[in-house]
């Protein structure tokens, strides 16, 4: 034993001398530290008594060994072994032929070794408790705020008095509010199990306004009765105050759930708004039924795809380039369609519907022939991922948030263009009285083409947004065209505010129906609702009333 111990120390020393020699040229101090750490770690192999091990654990935790957390958690999980032959500390994971081992000191993979050739560093329950506290404190001291936050959340889930000291120390230095809040909940969770009524009542009070789901389930559990009808929680005062705080928390959580549903609904509504607003121009303002509207969106989505192919190293900026590009591509195609086909069909809406449907088939097949019928993957820029966490019950994803903002910006720009610019004035003049506009010198044909191009271009922009939400394929447009028509018809033709209102309310209605009807059935309900709604108001919600639209 003694001999082997001496031998072991020698080997380790030799190993580290070699390392130190290697590292000396760079940072001599650091290598000395490394050698110290290695010695410290290897003490684990020889330490026998619980108190020795406890001391060692604390020493390791307070050392500056970079992987100390990993070593300690391996120790706790029972994955820390040493090789009997050369008494080297290793991580060991079971393998059909024994154990797969890795050196703790330098992370070198030492291959597979027979199960008899290694021995586990054993721990007992007392040590496990110590380890939990030490590990928690280690994570709480981490420089990475996400590590600290998840450590705090772990503590909430496994409240145990031995963490209290670590938590209090962490609180003293914590600067992040979210982490601090979680730590407070963790303290409260621990105190809830104490014997002191005052501490428990304080703990319950601390939950107020936190929306923590674990806290809510604990408080709910305190209201349960056993099989004989007695409350599990025998302290009436504690139970009642728990009930009060619980109902307040539930009410608040419900409200946030509602807010979240509205948010989901608005984001769906924004997608609808984007897809429908172009149609509101061509259908609402010009009276043209453009069945190829969906394909204009598809072209926008494919433009995004092509832009990303052209600038593969700048995916984050590709969307910014794609928006104007898609507007131009779809807008130009729209102008070609207007000049080539629709121009000959004004005043014959049903014929326009059929002809543009034909155009949509041609565009679909063209895309299929050029890009293949398979879906293309369009990557999302990094700034679109992630979410904005407002509190425990509410977090808003950035892509949904951006799409709401984006659709509103598009709508406002469109309103501005129509109401405040000369081109918009001409567009409105031509729609209201073509002959009069013509006689005032407005080139109505040119304005028609431009208006149609505008509607199509906006569909292209919608396509850019859709490329972030759905598969980009030749059939992309078809899945949105009916929804877009529903929105325009529901909102009232010729009224952009109506389109906005319809898109948002249909989006929200859909999201509120989904939980108890399922997505497909919710959609069916919405369709049936609109079919019935049209019976009641054949010209939509915000139809222009008056003589001009009667015939």
């Amino acid at each position: 034993m003694k001999l082997s111990h001496v031998f072991r120390v020698f080997v380790v020393l030799a190993l580290f001398v070699a390392q130190v020699v290697q590292a000396e040229q760079i940072t001599p101090v650091k290598s000395e530290v490394a050698a110290d750490n290695a010695l410290l770690l290897n003490e684990l192999i020889s330490a026998r008594s619980t108190s020795d091990k406890k001391n060692l654990i604390n020493l390791i935790a307070n050392s500056n060994f970079p992987q100390r957390a990993k070593v300690l958690s391996a120790l706790q999980d029972g994955d820390l072994y040493y090789t009997k032959a050369d008494e080297q500390l290793v991580y060991a994971f079971s393998h059909p032929d024994g154990y797969q081992i890795t050196s703790v000191i330098d992370g070198e993979n030492l291959g597979v070794i027979g199960s008899r050739k290694v021995r586990k560093i054993s721990i007992n329950n007392e040590l496990r408790t110590v380890l939990r506290g030490v590990l928690a404190e280690l994570s709480l001291r981490s420089e990475d705020v996400f590590v600290r936050l998840s450590a705090a959340k772990d503590l909430i889930r496994s409240p145990s008095p031995e963490f209290l000291y670590a938590i209090e120390r962490a609180k003293a230095v914590e600067v992040n509010e979210k982490v601090l809040a979680s730590l407070n909940i963790a303290t409260a969770m621990i105190n809830l199990n104490s014997e002191e009524q005052v501490l428990r009542l304080d703990a319950i009070e601390a939950f107020r306004g936190t929306l923590d789901s674990d806290a809510m389930s604990i408080l709910a559990a305190m209201q349960l009765k056993d099989s004989e009808g007695n409350y599990l929680e025998q302290d009436d005062l504690v139970r009642e105050s728990a009930a009060a705080v619980l109902s307040e928390m539930r009410g608040e959580a419900e409200m946030y759930k509602l807010v979240e549903n509205v948010f989901f609904g608005l984001s769906l509504g924004s997608v609808l708004l984007l897809t429908a607003v172009g149609l509101a121009i061509t259908f609402g303002v010009m009276g043209v039924i453009n069945m190829a509207h969906g394909e204009m969106m598809m072209l926008g989505a494919y433009t995004t795809y092509v832009i990303q192919l052209l600038m593969p190293n700048y995916i984050d900026y590709s969307i910014v380039v794609a928006i104007p590009a898609a507007f131009l591509v779809s807008g130009l195609v729209g102008i070609v369609i207007e000049r080539g086909v629709i121009r000959h069909l004004y005043g014959r809406p049903l014929e326009t519907l059929l002809a543009t449907f034909g155009v949509s088939l041609i565009l679909q097949q063209a895309v299929r022939s050029i890009f293949s019928p398979l879906n293309k993957s369009v990557s999302a820029p990094s700034w679109l991922s992630g979410s904005w966490e407002i509190n425990g019950a509410l977090s808003l994803t950035y892509n949904r948030l951006y799409i709401i903002i984006f659709s509103l910006v598009v709508l406002l720009m469109l309103v501005f263009l129509l109401k405040k610019t000369f081109v918009g004035l001409q567009m409105r003049a031509v729609t209201q009285n073509r002959a009069m506009a013509n006689s005032m010198g407005i080139r109505t044909g040119w304005v028609d083409a431009l208006t149609f191009g505008l509607g199509s271009g906006i569909a292209g922009i919608a396509g850019v947004a859709l490329s972030q939400l759905t598969n980009v394929g030749p059939n992309l447009g078809q899945s949105y065209i009916i929804d877009s028509f529903m929105v325009v018809v529901f909102g009232g033709v010729g009224n952009l505010f109506g389109t906005f209102f319809a898109a948002m309310s249909l989006g929200v209605a859909n999201k509120f129906l989904e939980p108890f009807a399922g997505a497909v059935l919710a959609k069916i309900f919405v369709l049936v609702f609109i079919i019935l709604f049209i019976q009641w108001r054949p010209r939509g919600l915000f139809a222009l009333k008056g003589r001009s639209v009667e015939d």
Binding site: L544, K545, R547, E550
Partner: protein
């Protein structure tokens, strides 16, 4: 210049008025197209209604024929029938015929078929499916076509008729419908002078058996009709009476000639 044509005994003695509007108001998005309008058409009367653009003439026609519901006011037919309770088809079957401002005939059917469709009779689907014309009905159709001067054109597609001929065909369709009250919207619009005079004569002829309300712009036509005139302005009655009297009214002159 005779008095208003009235054929005594033509209608039951008790009936006071063929058409009675009282305090009718209709607004579109805040704009009052009809404002507290009152009108009383006696049985057998021929009445001309004039007024500048936007005076509410067409809206008034829409309200009488059930196309538009008034916001308030009474609309009564033959004293007792509340027209606001019925829709276009009901009102047509009650005995009110309407001619549109723009001639509307079924352009793809022949003149004869147009008149046949308008011919009074059961309007049910089943009846139409198994319907065949009696010789009496055939005669009736032929007579009306003759009356409106389209005998030569009976087999032609209505779409091939001239503008004036379409107006006549539409009037013919109104007559064959057998209404008691005819509402005629700008029958002389787009007609030659000669056609205008013929149309006036035709309406006077029709007035022998029907009550007729004519909306018109053309002053020569109104003169030729030689009837009581109602002037509409901003949705209500500005003046009423013989044309000579009305046209001397300073307010009418102001409205028509501007300040």
């Amino acid at each position: 210049m005779s008095a208003v044509v009235k054929s005594p005994g033509f209608h039951s003695a008790e009936m006071q008025s063929m058409l009675y509007l009282n305090g009718v108001t209709k607004s579109f998005d805040g704009f009052k197209a009809i404002n507290n309008l009152s009108l009383d058409i006696a049985p057998g009367e021929l009445r001309a209604i004039i007024g500048p653009n936007g005076a509410g003439k067409s809206t008034m026609m829409d309200i009488i024929t059930g196309k538009t519901r008034p916001d308030s006011g009474q609309v009564r037919f033959r004293d007792s029938i509340d027209l606001t309770q019925y829709d276009e088809a009901d009102i047509a079957n009650l005995g009110i015929g309407r001619k549109f401002q723009k001639p509307t005939v079924v352009e793809t059917l022949s003149v004869w078929q147009n008149v046949e469709l308008a011919l009074a009779g059961t309007r049910s689907v089943l009846h139409a499916l198994f319907h065949t014309l009696s010789s009496e009905q055939t005669d009736k159709v032929n007579d009306v076509i003759k009356l409106v001067g389209l005998k030569e054109k009976a087999g032609d597609i209505a779409g091939s008729l001239s503008h004036g001929q379409k107006q006549w065909l539409e009037i013919g369709m109104l007559i064959v419908q057998g209404p008691e009250l005819l509402l005629v919207d700008e029958p002389a619009a787009g007609m030659t002078d000669h056609e205008t005079m013929e149309t006036a004569a035709l309406l006077k002829e029709i007035n022998k058996d029907h009550t007729v309300v004519v909306v018109e712009h053309d002053m020569d036509f109104i003169k030729a009709l030689d009837s009581k005139v109602t002037v509409l302005h901003e949705g209500s009655v500005l003046a009423e009476g013989r044309l000579e009297v009305v046209s001397a009214n300073p307010r009418v002159i102001e409205v028509y000639l501007g300040r």
